[in-house]
């Protein structure tokens, strides 16, 4: 029998000031999985996390937790789901009292010092030198790690992380990533992580959910290009990307439309390869090559001007082309493959 998903979201719509910011028709998240949430700023990642953390009630629709419909403050989830925001908030008290707060709410105060010190150790901080510090005696990275320790001490069933490494230094970022993954190893915690760090997510996630303008946009990264688009002779339009280079698109259906190109539909050629015969071309530089754990595909990020395109390398290309970051490449695409959102 297939295991029941920990979360099921059905027909969810959330509005701020009448404006829909999140619309999710159907979403399931499996127990003990690691799910990545990816999307541009304002795509609804944080709102979705707040819904999954039962902090806000959706305007309409239902979030099911272990098969039961749940609302904020429900006893079913209060002690099982925890959420770490991008900007950590520490209460105006010592690190020790910040970390023990959640356990205190649960009435679990046995061996509290040992538990606090252990959770500090999980995020790479020494209890001896940090437990007594006041909330203002920490750097940004330390504060974020203390906030994570305050969640890890709860051994949560679900840990939701909103850009956990966005505002911290390299070391803190590594420790936060390691500690989050350890939660799954140790307690089978389900992790939902919103992050721009696609490389990390691609490496650890069982599933990546892409969000765009508040809607689910499939399980694969896609290229989204915002306007303005300027008209070209012959009915086509163009988005200027860098000096002398532009992405040619069909006529946009409305003023605010964004062009979408599937990474599968973009082909990458090294300059030594045979030049493709059809479609339009762009020149760019490979910035990253990432192996997608889920599919085994290699995703190439190619920088053109300030825009980073993502293209999936076919197995044939992966095998025969010698592509490496820093190399100048040619991207080919067919304007007919462009969709609009």
């Amino acid at each position: 029998m297939k295991e029941r998903p920990i979360y099921q979201v059905k027909q969810l719509v959330h509005r701020y000031w009448q404006e829909p910011v999140l619309q999710v028709e159907d979403l399931s998240i499996s127990q003990n999985s690691i799910v990545g949430l990816v999307g541009p700023n304002g795509s609804g990642k944080s709102t979705l996390l707040k819904m999954l953390a039962f902090i806000e009630k959706p305007t309409s629709g239902t979030v099911f937790f272990e098969g039961k419909p749940v609302e904020p403050f429900s006893d079913t989830v209060r002690f099982q789901v925890t959420f770490l925001t991008q900007t950590p908030y520490l209460m105006k008290r010592t690190v020790f009292r910040n970390i023990k707060y959640g356990l205190q709410l649960r009435g679990d105060t046995d061996n509290i010092k040992k538990k606090v010190y252990e959770s500090l150790a999980l995020v790479g901080l020494s209890g001896e030198s940090f437990a007594h510090r006041k909330w203002y005696e920490l750097s940004g990275g330390e504060a974020q790690r203390v906030a994570l320790a305050a969640r890890l001490i709860l051994k949560p069933k679900v840990l939701l992380l909103d850009e956990p490494t966005a505002n911290v230094d390299v070391d803190s970022s590594r420790l936060i990533r390691e500690a989050s993954l350890r939660a799954r190893e140790k307690w089978g915690t389900t992790l939902v992580i919103a992050s721009h760090d696609l490389e990390w997510l691609s490496g650890v996630c069982d599933n990546i959910i892409y969000l765009f303008r508040g809607r689910l946009s499939g399980n694969r990264k896609t290229n989204i290009i915002f306007g303005p688009f300027t008209p070209l002779p012959g009915g086509f339009y163009e988005k200027n990307l860098s000096k002398g280079q532009g992405l040619v698109v069909p006529r946009p259906p409305h003023e605010n439309a964004a062009a979408v190109i599937d990474p599968e539909k973009i082909h990458v050629f090294s300059k030594e390869d045979l030049t493709p015969s059809t479609g339009k071309y762009l020149r760019g530089i490979i910035t990253r090559l990432v192996l997608e754990k889920e599919t085994g595909n290699i995703a190439a990020s190619v920088l053109i001007g300030s825009f980073e395109f993502c293209a999936n390398l076919s197995h044939k290309q992966s095998r025969y082309s010698v592509l490496y970051p820093g190399e100048e490449v040619i991207l080919s695409y067919d304007p007919g493959d462009i969709d609009w959102r």
């Binding site: 707040k50 953390a53 039962f54 902090i55 904020p72 403050f73 209060r78 002690f79 789901v81 925890t82 959420f83 770490l84 925001t85 900007t87 950590p88 908030y89 209460m91 105006k92 707060y101 959640g102 709410l105 649960r106 906030a147 305050a150 969640r151 709860l154 939701l160």
Partner: protein
């Protein structure tokens, strides 16, 4: 100017030797301000929290009314409370006119807008991430409210101190509602008015110094509590 200096010397003597009339006024002041502060904090903190924390229709209008009430003149409050508590007034049967509880009612009306407005301001300035953090750590609704209040405790201390300062030093309400009855409703401030009227500057200055000393002790205790 010599009488001023004589006044100070006399004041120190009165304080050191202990004077029954002086201590009666001190006791009346502490009792009545205790009642009024207790009432205004119990009523004002929840209302201030509600006003600062939630958004609801008419919030700005209520805020405007509360802010305007910060400027209520004490004699006007005294007049209103007198009118309500006098024999002919709607609350005349309770016999509260010329009593300390009667004065406390007036002082509560004086302190309440201060507590509500300053608590609401403190709560409004609270980091919005606090709510998310507390819920995500497992707080129930009541734990959310109590911990949020604890987080803005310094703002609430400041509100209480400001209100206490105003209540302790007002004359209008104590004089009109209390009637300045010796051994009974005479507070430090009404005593100062009376003694000054009689030309007894030393007594007036002594009482003034005691009032400042009480304010100092209260502030010192709060500042000690903050450090803890």
């Amino acid at each position: 100017m010599e009488y001023l200096l004589e006044g100070f010397i006399k004041a120190v003597q009165l304080i050191i030797e202990g004077d029954d009339q002086t201590w009666s006024a001190v006791s009346a002041t502490l009792t009545v301000s205790g009642y009024s502060m207790g009432a205004s904090l119990i009523i004002g903190i929840p209302l201030g929290f509600f006003l600062g924390y939630f958004s609801f229709p008419g919030k700005t209008k209520i805020r405007l009314i509360v802010d305007t009430m910060l400027s209520l003149p004490t004699v006007f409050i005294g007049l209103l409370v007198y009118a309500f508590l006098s024999r002919r007034g709607p609350l005349g049967d309770f016999g509260l006119l010329f009593t300390l509880p009667g004065v406390a009612i007036g002082q509560t009306i004086l302190a309440l807008p201060i507590v509500i407005a300053l608590c609401a301001t403190a709560v409004e300035a609270m980091d919005r991430h606090l709510r998310i953090t507390l819920i995500s750590l497992g707080a129930s609704r009541s734990q959310l409210v109590l911990t949020s209040l604890w987080e803005v405790r310094y703002g609430i201390f400041a509100a209480a101190l400001t209100a206490y300062g105003r209540v302790m030093t007002e004359v209008g309400i104590s004089m009109m509602v209390g009637g300045n009855i010796k051994w009974y409703t005479r507070t430090i401030t009404t005593a100062i008015v009376l003694e000054t009227g009689k030309g007894m500057f030393a007594m007036g200055i002594a009482l003034g110094l005691i009032l400042i000393a009480i304010a100092f002790v209260v502030n010192l205790s709060v500042s000690f509590a903050r450090k803890k």
